[in-house]
Symmetry: C2
Subunit: 368 residues, 2 copies
Amino acid sequence: MQTLHVDLADRSYPIYVGAGLISQGELFARHVAGKKVAIVTNETIAPLYLESVQRALAAYAQTAIVLPDGEAFKTWETLQLIFDGLLSARHDRRCTVIALGGGVIGDMAGFAAACYQRGVDFIQVPTTLLSQVDSSVGGKTGINHPLGKNMIGAFYQPNAVLIDTSTLTTLPPRELSAGLAEVIKYGLICDEGFLAWLEEHMDALRSLDQQALTYAIEQSCAAKARIVGADEREAGVRATLNLGHTFGHAIETHKGYGAWLHGEAVSAGTVMALEMSRRLGWISTEDRDRGIRLFQRAGLPVVPPEEMTPADFLQHMAVDKKVLDGQLRLVLLRRMGEAVVTADYPDETLHATLSANYRALVGQLGEQ
Amino acid sequence: MQTLHVDLADRSYPIYVGAGLISQGELFARHVAGKKVAIVTNETIAPLYLESVQRALAAYAQTAIVLPDGEAFKTWETLQLIFDGLLSARHDRRCTVIALGGGVIGDMAGFAAACYQRGVDFIQVPTTLLSQVDSSVGGKTGINHPLGKNMIGAFYQPNAVLIDTSTLTTLPPRELSAGLAEVIKYGLICDEGFLAWLEEHMDALRSLDQQALTYAIEQSCAAKARIVGADEREAGVRATLNLGHTFGHAIETHKGYGAWLHGEAVSAGTVMALEMSRRLGWISTEDRDRGIRLFQRAGLPVVPPEEMTPADFLQHMAVDKKVLDGQLRLVLLRRMGEAVVTADYPDETLHATLSANYRALVGQLGEQ
């Protein structure tokens, strides 16, 4: 087991990473102050892991709140089910909410913990690779509103995060790959040593080697903690976490949400960011191809949808949150392991990037 | 105009108190960072003061969100109307929410500001005496849930509080008196000098003398800020703010919410706390009668409902939040201007207090 301490704002909390952690009652006990816990999970995860977590928490009075699965249920109506469950079981301010599931469960259970009686204790147990490396750090919680995603929420830090790498054995391989896109991202934006490690251990990760997973998750969370700690308000360096996301969001929006997984769009979007960084003379063709190969080996798409024109991209990218005073800011690589956020590039470089023939470009690399 | 600085947790904010403040655009401008404001108010207050506030904020793009009036609407459904209004008008993270109304509006608009895009700026403009002296300090925001009052919410501090004493000219006299119950409370629990000032100026307050109101509100907010600042988590001294509330809640619950106004129940409840403090030998009969006279002069009831038996009181008080390990903790006066929270009293003194003939006791004082 690895333990990482996240130090943000007025509180610090540990992230434990290792195989089999959800069965370790002692780990939970360190962070449960009262006598009652409420486990919030969904219909997919409950049959797999709820019983293990309940056994680990046998010393406490328990309530299990099982929600429907999916982003479509990240709504007030579902949140209300959590409050109903907490109030019906007469949980008071000393209760601890435990989020057992992926990003949607973490966001909703975290927001419920932030609001219930104006704030109760909260432990995250993320069960997807994406939520383990992304939502564990940063304290963003919330729900969607019919007029916008993640519009209602709170910044609320957990008391602890338990990342049990063995829960990834039940994760669909496509979702494992999607999570790896964000893992690779951390290497590209801030840690070339980690990038090299990923190249050596990609096969181990995809075959669920627990030791390799533990290391990769711990490095990813540590990278995010460093970046968020340096820029909690997203004024500067935090935006580098969005490498590939501006191009990627355009792909997601164009294809309709859900057609491409978020990590898949980030993968193809990052290839475009690599190509643009190369055209600006910041990274070499070898660097670009090194990135592409790593995404390929993670089982991810590296070519944007062929029907998407530069005009399609520009249209979707114009509404991106990173547009400031009409200037489209992009996250690009100054060199491998160092990202920058910039609006200072020739328009023709962007257009050339959007017009590039990625299929041909990737074809030259040969199949892996 | 008086300015009081409240220094709580990680931020400090000013409370401005004076006549005509809602027309002073410059005061608002000090605390509006962006270009857009959303004014949240209700159907009772909007015809009286919305236009003045809108004129004062003429320099900003504005959205007015007018909610139905009353505690019955302090629900998620009404809160959703605020989010709908904010999102329809495309307010972003730089918007400022302005709460114009009493405690219900302040609680709901404050909670909306806490959650909208994970937190936006927020200015309180309380228009009832109760909200001016009670909700302006402490940062409690929230809504009711069908299974409990104030169960969903956040601690969220405003950027500023503008208390315009001239809004009290349109407040129903019964509600003014109810607000005065809380003002008197501050004198009783922590400031005998203020108590003496109230005795001298009660008539001026009830006839809406703006200078007297400004002073009384400023002293009340300062007292609450001192107490909350010393004990944000309500572990000790903050509980003294509940003087008269344990007996008062029993009255409210017994009569059904709304039959007695909160301040009216606090008044009669505080008379019982004075009587018990006298029976314990902590204050004199003269002290007790001094308190009773002041509540009477504020236009408040000083005799609990005659049909309520000691058993009625005990039943309702047993579920009070101040019960700790089965011991009923009460807020009593050690002397005039000094409250204590204690479970250390003979049961027979409590019973004698509940059985006392308050009508006879008050009758001896003669009519004022």
